[in-house]
Each structure stands twice: as C-alpha cells, then as structure tokens.
C-alpha cells in the first residue's frame, strides 16, 4: 500500500483571477468553479526562499536605523529596488547560523560548505568528500506536509552545476540533495502538463489517456516491488520515483488559464538550453525562473519552492545591467583576483554593492509577480506567502556566519510587517543565542505546520517573539 499524503489542505486551490490583467502580467481567465465547496476554501500558505551566495556588502545593505520601514528607508542601500515592498518587509539583525562556523561547533566542511549546507537544514554536514547535509531542508519538510499529492518542493537554480555541498541548498533527507532544475522551459512544461509538441497549451485528451494507461501499468510494477522485502531506504526510493510521475493523475482541465501568456512562453521556448550554464544567459535565465516559480506558487502546483542563484564560492562574472566586472562573484566577495589569494581588486566594494542591488532587483521582480496574482478573496499570493531572502554568508570576505542578511516579505499573517529589528546583540562567538533554526521553525509554523524545533543537534527550540505578528 503506497504512501498517500493526507494533508489538511488536501484540496487543490484554484486561482480565480481578474479578467484583463495589467500589461506585462499573465492574462488569467476566470476559472469555472469546480464545485461550490471549492469556492469556500481559504487560500493555502506558501513558502519560497530566494537564495544568494558569497555574502553581501554589509556596509551598504541595510537601512540606517531600526524601526518602522517606509519606502524611503531603503534609499541609498542595496535594498532600494525593494522600496515599494518596504511596508511589507521584515528585516531581522543579529541572527547567526547553527551549527556555527569558524569551527566553533565542529563538524565537517569549511565555512562556505557550512554556509550552503546548514542554511535550510540547520544540520551538520557528512564527513565525506561531498559534505552533504545530514537532514531534510525546511522547504522539503514543508512540501511533504502541505503540497498537493505530497509533491516534492520545486527546486530551481541559476548557474553552473556544482558538485557537492557547495552546489545544493535543498535536501529531501540526510545526504539526499536535490539538484536544482536550471531549465525553465522543462519546469514549465512539466507542471503545466503541456504536450510534447512545442507551443501546445494543453495536453490533448488522447495523450493524457495514453499516459494514464502507461502510469497504471508502471504502478503495478511498483506494486510488485513494494511487496518485495526491500529495505526502508529502497522503499523510499520507490515512493519518490512514483511521486515523480504521478502528475498525470491530476485532471488537466485545471491548468487552463493558468499560464504565462504567449509572449513569455515564446521566450521560454526560444531559450537556448545549450547555453544554460554560461554567464551570458544568467540574467535572462533568472527572470524566466522567477516567472516559472511565481506561477507554480500561484497556480498551486507547489506550495514550497527555492530559487538558488549561483553557487557557494562560485558565481558568474557580472557583465550586465551596467556592470563590467572581470572577476567572478566569489573572487569579488574577497576583493581579490584569485579565489584564494592574488591582488586586491580596485573598487571591489562598489562592485559587490552593484551585484547586491542587481539581486534585489530580481527579488523585487519576484515579489511583484507574486503580488499580481489575486486569490479571489481580495488577497494576493504574496499576502498568503512567506517569501524569504537568504544568503549563504553575511560578510563574504570573512566567510562570516554571524548577523546574516534575512528579508521576510509577505509574512502570511505570521510575521510582523514593515520593520527593521535588532533581534539581539549577543556575540555568537560566545555561544548560541539567536540561532537561525528558530527562523526555520517559524517558517514551518507560518504555513500551518506546528513545529517547536526545526533542525539538528545545535538547534534551539522556540521562535523569535520579536518577529511575530
């Protein structure tokens, strides 16, 4: 008998959109309600982490004083592109990673490895060459509990594939990293249930029927395996595999109207997958991934997602949006011409500020997309979501795990809005007092999964009361 995830939010939530959406946003037809009951549901809560690497220019990132946030608060900082969302943002200071870096809590991995691997898991890393994290990440834990059909969280990335812990932030379990998808066209095709013919907006019924027949047979083969005396790990393997192909069970009529519109679809189709790893496609790929991830949340294909931009100790050479850099993100985060050494790069701090600003423009774009999707009860998808900006490190040059940059937007009614808060001034070099795992715990609670302590050995129970609505 295979696992079927029973969730509180078992029914799929269907978007009701306004006719004639504004220019540049997807046109959403009003969907015929599947039943009167469906209309009475409240929108589900979603979680999304927008993840950057190599730290930020800490001197020019944050507002100048604590307290209420207004659109003016961000002027002159890297956050300026987020100004319109300032009243809905929450920026905590003083939170540090656990397990801590600088070898304070021991454990495998250098500080880049820890920055990547600990961030969404709050677990130690395996003592192997790959140093993968030893537990599930918060996005996958959320997906397990609330996603339609128990689907895995959507894990997208931009940038070259990097092996090992430096290239992964999401884990379905101990040493089970999820490699981010870097092809927005395939991701879109996937959850839209699109036909294999380019440009088809809905799978023809015949093809859908055929796939169901195929799935039925394959499921019986899985049943043969389920009744064999397999280890727990092999059983889990089968279930994950089956989950990966069960999408055909969903009635595809629901997808009608929930799409990105002809212009963006043409962009996706035209995307050169052969260049998907190259810096020249980095900016365009980021935009398309944002389009896809926002739609997937809005159309309730997934309620949990991450977008990883770049890699730990990596990243592109930025040559767009007014930037003409010669060295890649990691080198600039150290201000040096080499990854571990070399000469100082003149003006590297300004370059980092420009990089941070560019990332904030993308984050703002994501928030704008999410806010444009109306849930039909007067709220937007952004209102019902916890959208989190996170970074591998705070000060990249020192590989710092302390006082990490976090921005929480939307808040889903759980987090305060419009504030820049000093959570603590306690020095994490002396002990664990404001561990980031408490934020992970709060993310779980915010989307409706009661949790007291998310993480591993060095995690602390409880939440940051200062941050709660």
């Amino acid at each position: 008998m295979h696992r079927h995830t029973q969730t509180v939010f078992g029914r799929r939530w269907f978007l009701r959109g306004a006719l004639g959406a504004t220019v540049g946003l997807p046109f959403l037809e009003s969907l015929a309600p599947r039943s009167a009951r469906a209309q009475a549901l409240t929108p589900p809560k979603r979680f999304l982490c927008f993840f950057n690497c190599n730290g930020v220019n800490m001197k020019r990132f944050f507002p100048s004083s604590f307290g209420a946030l207004t659109p003016e608060s961000f002027v002159g900082t890297a956050l300026e592109p987020l100004s319109a969302f300032a009243p809905r943002s929450l920026i905590p200071r003083g939170i540090h990673a656990v397990p801590r870096g600088y070898n304070l809590d021991g454990g495998a991995g250098d500080d880049h490895a820890k920055g990547m691997g600990h961030k969404l898991t709050a677990q130690f890393l395996a003592d192997t060459p790959d140093e993968y994290a030893l537990g599930i990440s918060v996005d996958q834990a959320i997906a397990n509990a609330v996603n339609p059909q128990g689907r895995q969280a959507l894990t997208l990335r931009v940038g070259r594939k990097k092996d090992g812990v430096l290239g992964h932030i999401s884990y379905t379990g101990p040493q089970e990293p999820v490699t981010g998808e870097n092809n927005p066209w395939l991701a879109y095709q996937d959850f839209m249930g699109l036909g294999t013919e380019a440009g088809e907006s809905v799978i023809p019924d015949a093809e859908a029927l055929r796939r169901r027949s195929v799935l039925d047979l394959v499921n019986r083969e899985f049943d043969d395996l389920r009744s064999a005396d397999l280890s727990r790990s092999d059983q889990q393997k089968i279930e994950a595999h089956f989950d990966s192909i069960r999408d055909v069970e969903v009635s595809l009529a629901a997808s009608v109207g929930c799409n990105l519109g002809a212009a963006t679809e043409a962009d996706l189709l035209a995307f050169e997958t052969v260049n998907v790893d190259s810096d020249s496609e980095f900016a365009r790929l980021t935009r398309l991934q944002i389009d896809v991830i926002a739609l997937s949340l809005a159309c309730d294909h997934t309620r949990s997602a991450t977008l990883q931009i770049g890699n730990g100790a990596g990243g592109p050479i930025f040559t767009w949006d007014g930037m003409h850099h010669k060295y890649n993100h990691h080198k600039l985060s150290h201000g040096t011409t080499l990854d571990d050494g070399g000469d100082e790069v003149q003006g590297y701090e300004q370059m980092l500020f420009d990089i941070d600003t560019w990332h904030m423009k993308q984050f703002a774009y994501l928030l704008t997309r999410l806010d444009a999707y109306q849930e039909g009860d007067g709220t937007s998808v952004l209102d019902n979501s916890v959208i989190v900006y996170a970074n591998e490190l705070s000060d990249g040059r020192a590989h710092d795990f302390k006082d990490l940059p976090w921005i929480i937007v939307g808040g889903a009614g759980y987090f305060k809005q419009g504030e820049y808060v000093q959570v603590t001034e306690y020095d994490p070099m002396r002990g664990i007092e404001a561990p980031h795992n408490k934020l992970l715990t709060m993310f779980m609670n915010a989307v409706g999964i009661p949790t007291t302590n998310f993480g591993g050995e060095k995690s602390l129970a409880g939440e940051f009361e200062l941050l709660k609505a």
Partner: protein
C-alpha cells in the same frame, strides 16, 4: 587517517574565544530517542565479516551515461537522449554511487519525455521497428512474441507470466490510445515507451531472496549478467551474455570468469576504463582555467580539450594498448603531444600536427600522469603555481589520505614577495609555519614543492622569481617515509609505494561496485594491491579479479531497521 582534534581547539583559542562551553543561557532541549521494537536477535553486520558483503541497495538506477548506452544497444538509437536529464549530485568523487542515484523531482518526467521520443523514433523507422519486432502482424501471438523477446532485453531478464499478460493487454490498446491507423506500430509504441519508464528498465534490480548456508544471497544468472555488463561496459548484456545466463553458466565461477575475460579483452571496456581515470584524476578540473596573458601568451582556455585529450590518450595507451599497470601510469617516461601543447613541453611546434603523437621524454624530465599539463595547470593560479593544491591532490587521490579542508576564518592569501620571501616555496612556508598548521602541511608542502620545477602552465623551469629552485623534501606516511630530490624522484617512489597501490585498488573498487568500500572488502583490496606491484598487471586483469569475490556474486540479506 589523520586526526586533528588539537588543531581545532587551538584555533578556537587563536580567535580569542573565552569559552568553549556555548550554552550559557539556553540549554538545548533534548530530543526523545525512539527505541525500535526489538524483534529477532540482531545479525552481525555482513559488511564487517571477512569476505562478506555490506548492506546495500537492491535497486541500482542507471546513470545517465549508462541510460544512453543501454537505449542505444536496445533500440539502435539514443545518442544524446540523456542530455536534458536532471543532473545527479555526485557522491564520493564518482558519479555512479548507487545510494545516491534516485528518481525524484523532474527526473521522472525527463524519463517519460525521453521514452516517448525514443518510442516514436523507433516506430517511425522501418529499419528500427524491424529490429525490435520478431514478427509483423498485430495478432495476440505476435504481440506475445514481441513482449517476450523485447522484454527480455529491456528488463535484462525473462518476464514473468503476469508481466507478459500486462504488456500484451497494453499492446492491444494501441489502436485506441495511439490512433495512428497501424495497429502493429501503435501497440509497439505503447510497449516500448512503457518499458523504458518501467523500474525494471531504469533500475538493475537484485531481487533474489534465497539465502545460502552462510547467510548471503547468491544472485541469479541474469543479475550477474547485468553486473558483468554494467561493470565492464556501462551497458546492457550482449547476446553472448544473455546466452550464458539462459544456459545457467553464470552461477558458476568458471562461467563468470569466462565471460569476464571475454569482455575485458574486448574494446567494450574502453569507455569504463577511460571514465574511471577521468573521474579519479578529476580531469574536468582542466576546464575553465585562466592564466595571465602576459606571462603565458601561449595559453588559452581552449587548451582544456587538449589537456583532457593528452591525459586520456596516455591512460588509454598505457592501460589498453600496452596492457601495462599502475607503475607505468605513474612513471612511464613518455607522453602525448600535439602542435598546441608542444610549446609547453619545450618542443618544436613544427614537428607536430593536430593529432597527438607519442613523445619519449629525455631522462628524468617528465614521467606519467603527474607531469601532464592538465594536472600542473589546474592546480596553479593565474600567475603562480600552487604547491598546496598539488600536494593536496596527490595526498587525497593518489595516496587516499584524508586531508581536511583548511579551518574556517583563515586568511588564505599568501604573503607578498620581499627580499627574504622570494619564491613560491618561501611564501607557502612562511604562511603555513604556525605549529597548528604543521599536522597537515608537513605532508602537503613537501609534495607540492617537489613539482616546483613546473610553472603555472606546466612548462619546465629552473628558477622561480629569479631564485634557484628547491624541490627536495620528505614526508612521513603510515607505510613509511618518502624522501625525494624532486618531482621525478617522488613519482618513482609513489609508483613503488604500498599506499599508492592500496589507494588505486580502493578507488577501482568504489567505481566498479558503485559503493564505498567496507571492512569486508579488505581481502579483495589486499590481493589487488599485491598484484599491482607488478607493472604487467593490467586493468583488464584487475576488472576480472573484481568479479571473483563474494561481494560480486552475492548480496547481503535485506537490512532490517
């Protein structure tokens, strides 16, 4: 195995931490341990028994490369079919670790897309369809014959009655579900696209269950056939292997040996042998190098193909053409050069063409894989060499020493050159002089310094920043001391080192068995290491040897947890 607990503590003190006890105000809440229900008395872990077999997965998913080879052999088409598959995260330096290979997220849909496209391609071609079908009418008899014969090859074993019935029923749905007008093609399309998505195709399942008298489970003929073919050729069994399996020959050690020797003697092992060395020596690190254009005008990042090419050609020549072993891999005094790489070898460009030619190196100049341009350039900076990176590579990959990454918070910038700090060796020595660094750097540095006779692009040199070179050194390993005057001397000693033989054997076992080594592999590894002392012991013999232990022919009982 090195342990540096003292170093960790010292580092904490270095940073001025005033307390090693972190939890002043907030004790961590204890997590309730969950005790499993006790049932039968615990069996000893079979991975700890001499010549035993460790617990492992019974479902080994095909790697993307294996998928491509398999569909090509099965269908006659398939090159590039895995190009858009979701990347696998790699494990333990090799990308085929069975525990790490799963189907999740988008990959299931990637397989579906590929299966549908491949099936369409087959039924769209008269030739390919005729290759797959044993008969040509859409009758139940023909459908049964097709499902039975094609299924045997697709699932790499005979289908059970129930399975045949399922697929024959599916075939019959062809006209209704595919509607092309040709019942035979429709039925074939359905069967092919479904079999390619079946777990019986995508995984090598080891589902035998009968224990022998010693607590292990012998694999059946077909399971062994798949192990042989994937270990040696990265693809499905060939016709001769299927014949041997059907005849019951693969449950005898003579039968296994005969097939192993046949395959090992053939060209079919070339992809595996090259792929192993490519992963072991991390040839992909040769891509995306950048070097200072003024200092190294001959260099360009496009040379990556030549760096990888010369290394692969060398490995191929030594292991397959000449049938030589580890000693030659490390210390054979020749290499492969073309017109683009000639300048770095100090050779006349005009004597070379586009293709690689074998070049004998003058006495003590270069030898083996560690004096190839790729290794020397990839472990160097844009302007200078990096003895630390070269040393760490040799220690980790050639000697299998567990060298940890540098501790956190350390400034990795080397000091500037001055009147006293002249060469790269000087810079590294000054920077790693602190006693806390010595545990690792007393091993890393001497090995790295031995290669200082080669600059950041792998060209030979006899001075560094105007000063003479000092490439002499010594390291203390667990198996003895290596003392050397320079790179060639070090290389010669490595080629004769027990540690190096043991390491090479261990790396091969990990790759061949798609898992980490266990205590139970000790005998196998010791035997291989002993054989490797003889340079005439080729990789072909090594692969055959790996089909002999119980770990190849049996599996452990299912882990109860």
């Amino acid at each position: 195995m090195l342990l540096i607990p003292a170093a960790g503590l010292l580092l904490v003190l270095l940073f001025g931490c005033d307390s090693a006890a972190p939890r002043a105000a907030n004790p961590i809440e204890p997590v309730e341990p969950v005790e499993p229900e006790p049932s039968e008395p615990a069996r000893p872990d079979p991975g700890t028994l001499e010549n035993g077999v460790p617990y492992g997965t019974r479902l080994q998913r095909l790697t993307h490369a294996e998928y491509e080879r398999t569909v090509t052999d099965l269908l006659g088409v398939g090159e590039g079919s895995s190009g858009e598959f979701l990347d696998d995260p790699s494990f333990s330096g090799f990308d085929n670790n069975a525990d790490g290979l799963r189907v999740a997220g988008r990959l299931g849909r990637d397989y579906r897309r590929a299966a549908e496209a491949l099936a369409r391609e087959v039924v769209g071609s008269e030739e390919l369809l005729a290759r797959a079908l044993p008969c040509d009418d859409p009758s139940v008899e023909c459908a049964t014959e097709f499902v039975t014969s094609f299924g045997l090859r697709a699932f790499r074993r005979p289908l059970r009655e129930a399975e045949i019935a399922r697929y024959v029923a599916l075939f019959a749905e062809g006209p209704e579900l595919v509607q092309s007008g040709a019942a035979l093609a429709d039925g074939a399309l359905l069967v092919i696209e479904t079999m390619l998505q079946s777990p019986n195709f995508l995984y090598r399942g080891e589902l035998s269950t009968e224990e022998d008298g010693e607590g292990f489970i012998p694999l059946n003929d077909y399971e062994i056939a798949s192990r042989l073919s994937y270990m040696l050729t990265a693809s499905m069994p060939d016709a001769e292997l299927f014949r041997a399996a059907a005849a019951g020959e693969l449950t005898t050690s003579e039968g296994i040996r005969a097939q192993a020797e046949r395959l090992a003697a053939s060209a079919a092992i070339r992809p595996r042998v090259l792929d192993f060395h490519e992963q072991w020596l991390d040839l992909k690190a040769y891509r995306e190098l950048s070097k200072d254009a003024e200092l190294f005008p001959d260099f360009s990042p496009d040379l990556a193909d030549d760096y990888i090419g010369e290394a692969r050609r060398f490995v191929e020549h030594v292991t397959l053409d000449e049938g030589r072993g580890l000693v030659s891999l490390l210390s054979a005094p020749y290499g492969f050069v073309n017109q683009r790489t000639a300048p770095f070898y100090g050779l006349d460009v005009n004597e070379f063409g586009d293709e690689f030619s074998l070049v004998e190196f003058a006495d003590k100049e270069r030898a083996g894989i560690l004096t190839g341009l790729g290794f020397l350039s990839a472990h160097a900076y844009t302007t200078d060499t990096s003895p630390i990176h070269r040393g760490v590579f040799v220690l980790r990959r050639i000697l299998c020493e567990a060298i940890p990454d540098p501790p956190g918070g350390i400034d990795l910038t080397l000091p500037e050159t001055t009147d006293e700090i002249v060469t790269t060796r000087d810079q590294v020595e000054v920077h790693t002089a602190a006693p806390v660094c010595a545990t690792c750097h007393s091993l890393i540095n001497p090995i790295g310094f031995a290669f200082e006779g080669f600059d950041a692009v792998g060209a030979a040199r006899d001075s560094d920043n105007g000063a003479p070179l000092d490439t002499a050194g010594s390291v203390e390993l667990s198996t003895g001391t290596l003392e050397f005057s320079g790179a060639l001397d070090l290389i010669l000693q490595l080629s004769e080192s027990e540690s190096v033989r043991g390491c090479y054997a261990k790396q091969w076992l990990r790759y061949a068995y798609a898992r980490a080594e266990a205590v139970s592999d000790a005998q196998t590894l010791a035997a291989l290491a002993e054989h490797l002392a003889d340079d005439a012991y080729s990789v072909r013999e090594l692969l055959v040897e790996l089909t002999r232990p119980r770990a190849f022919t049996h599996r452990a009982p299912t882990e109860q947890d």
